[in-house]
Symmetry: C2
């Protein structure tokens, strides 16, 4: 099975469980809308690639961790799109959850997805219960307080957020959790992998800033020009487009260089490079070539 199929299967299993029995139909439909069809599934792809590179032990656990990470990412998108935050009417080229199902169900969709994530992780660990505590606490660090993605979003409500801290929490923390969960699922020590997560998170933050500054809504699949409109810190604005793109490429190189020696290092390096090229706005990649 390809990693793409493994990820979709694990997500489908989680969504099917949520839809089963006496589930309220609209919330069940909203949850499915939030998860399928997905975007590039960048985080679960990376998590599985690290698990494979680290030896590929416990594939069921690795799949569960990858699904949990993607469900948490989907939850953050649904809540970030709400009128009280980004007020984004589109996501992945389709109506966002609150536009399609209304605000109450969008709040509940995010809540349900967070719960589904931890549930998926726990179920995946049935055959290796000793892995659940390290995986779960790695994940909670990536999403919760004091410095996960929820904290990152909350920095936008502060008068002058420290930019580094804000970006590290909003984007970096989940990448760190992604990479470290992949390693932990494979039974490897996750600590040597932290730097890869930090570099990837930083690179993706620049990529997202560039996407917001350069692309139209059709290419991005979501409203753009929001950093200027919402006065959010943006490296595309601070550094200029060309400099920001060069900075992103440097971060990707540092990410590749940080990969610890392991059997599957080459494949993982290729994946990191390919994903990064795909994420940067096409017009900048062309200009830089």
């Amino acid at each position: 099975m390809t990693t793409g199929v493994r990820i979709e299967s694990a997500l489908e299993a989680a969504v099917l469980r949520a839809e089963s029995g006496a589930a309220p139909p609209k919330l069940a439909a909203a949850v499915r809308h939030a998860v399928f069809p997905g975007g590039a599934r960048v985080r679960p792809q990376q998590s599985l690639a690290v698990a494979e590179a680290g030896g590929g032990e416990n594939p069921v656990v690795a799949d569960g961790a990858a699904a949990a990470i993607e469900l948490l990412h989907c939850a953050s998108l649904v809540h970030d799109d709400l009128p009280c935050f980004d007020d984004a009417a589109t996501r992945r080229g389709r109506p966002s959850v609150h536009v399609m199902f209304g605000e109450p169900l969008a709040v509940l969709t995010g809540d349900a997805l967070i719960v589904m994530a931890f549930d998926a992780l726990a179920r995946a660990c049935a055959g290796a219960p000793e892995l659940l505590i390290p995986l779960l606490t790695t994940l909670t660090r990536g999403v919760g307080l004091p410095s996960g993605i929820v904290a990152g979003q909350a920095w936008e409500s502060e008068p002058s957020p420290p930019v580094e801290v804000y970006h590290r929490a909003k984007t970096g923390a989940l990448f760190v959790a992604t990479v470290m969960c992949g390693a932990a699922a494979a039974g490897a020590d996750p600590l040597p992998w932290r730097l890869l997560g930090e570099k990837l998170g930083a690179a993706y933050q620049v990529a997202d800033d560039l996407l917001d500054a350069v692309c139209g809504e059709t290419q991005a699949g979501k409203p753009t020009g929001r950093d200027v409109a919402l006065k959010r810190p943006s490296q595309a604005i601070n550094l200029g487009l060309k400099e920001a793109h060069a900075h992103m490429q440097a971060l990707v190189s540092e990410a590749v260089a940080s990969i610890p020696p392991c059997g599957g290092a080459k494949g993982l390096k290729d994946l990191v490079r390919t994903q990064a090229t795909r994420l940067a706005p096409k017009q900048l990649v062309r200009d830089a070539a």
Copy 2:
């Protein structure tokens, strides 16, 4: 240590972890506002009472499970109070989180509390990792889809929710999880305890309907008369006040009768009766006496 002190200590430890390091100050303050000072802490009290009745093994795990349940309850209150749901300006006699900190931080407070709950549970299981999977999946069943409290809240967005299913999810599911987690934390089989949770959940739903119908905002600590205003099913309205109160008392008796034979059964029965008396609106208790 009394159970009250154990509960507040476990909650304080979770909130301190959330506030530590580089936490965004407003979100950290909002989380503390949502958790302290608490209400009657009915659910963690019951969870600990069941754990004690079941033998009192693993007190650290029992405390963690009790804190997790209360954090999830607090999360549901913060989100339920939002303008797009109940639009409640007060809670526990104080401004609700969105009134005090704004809507974005209220959404994030609920999210952070859900994550903190699973984190608290995982940390508490460090010395008994084999308990984490059953405890965690019992909790996710109580709060998520298809039939936990998130599903219960979502039924309010359906045109004609089946009343039994709605109430079982909105109130009953977390009581079932509360009681079963208490048993599981003590190393007992949680299944014989399910009926107690169901009966307690049903009793508390009637008590809440009565509170909404009979009390003013000062006594309830939150806006009342909401069931009529929001056209929500209410047993106080359907059965009439006197009948509904009698029904609640019958459910409490059934709850007490359902307690499985165990060492601490007597203390648990006393707690269930005392808590129920405290929860029913005083004027009805007086009239029925």
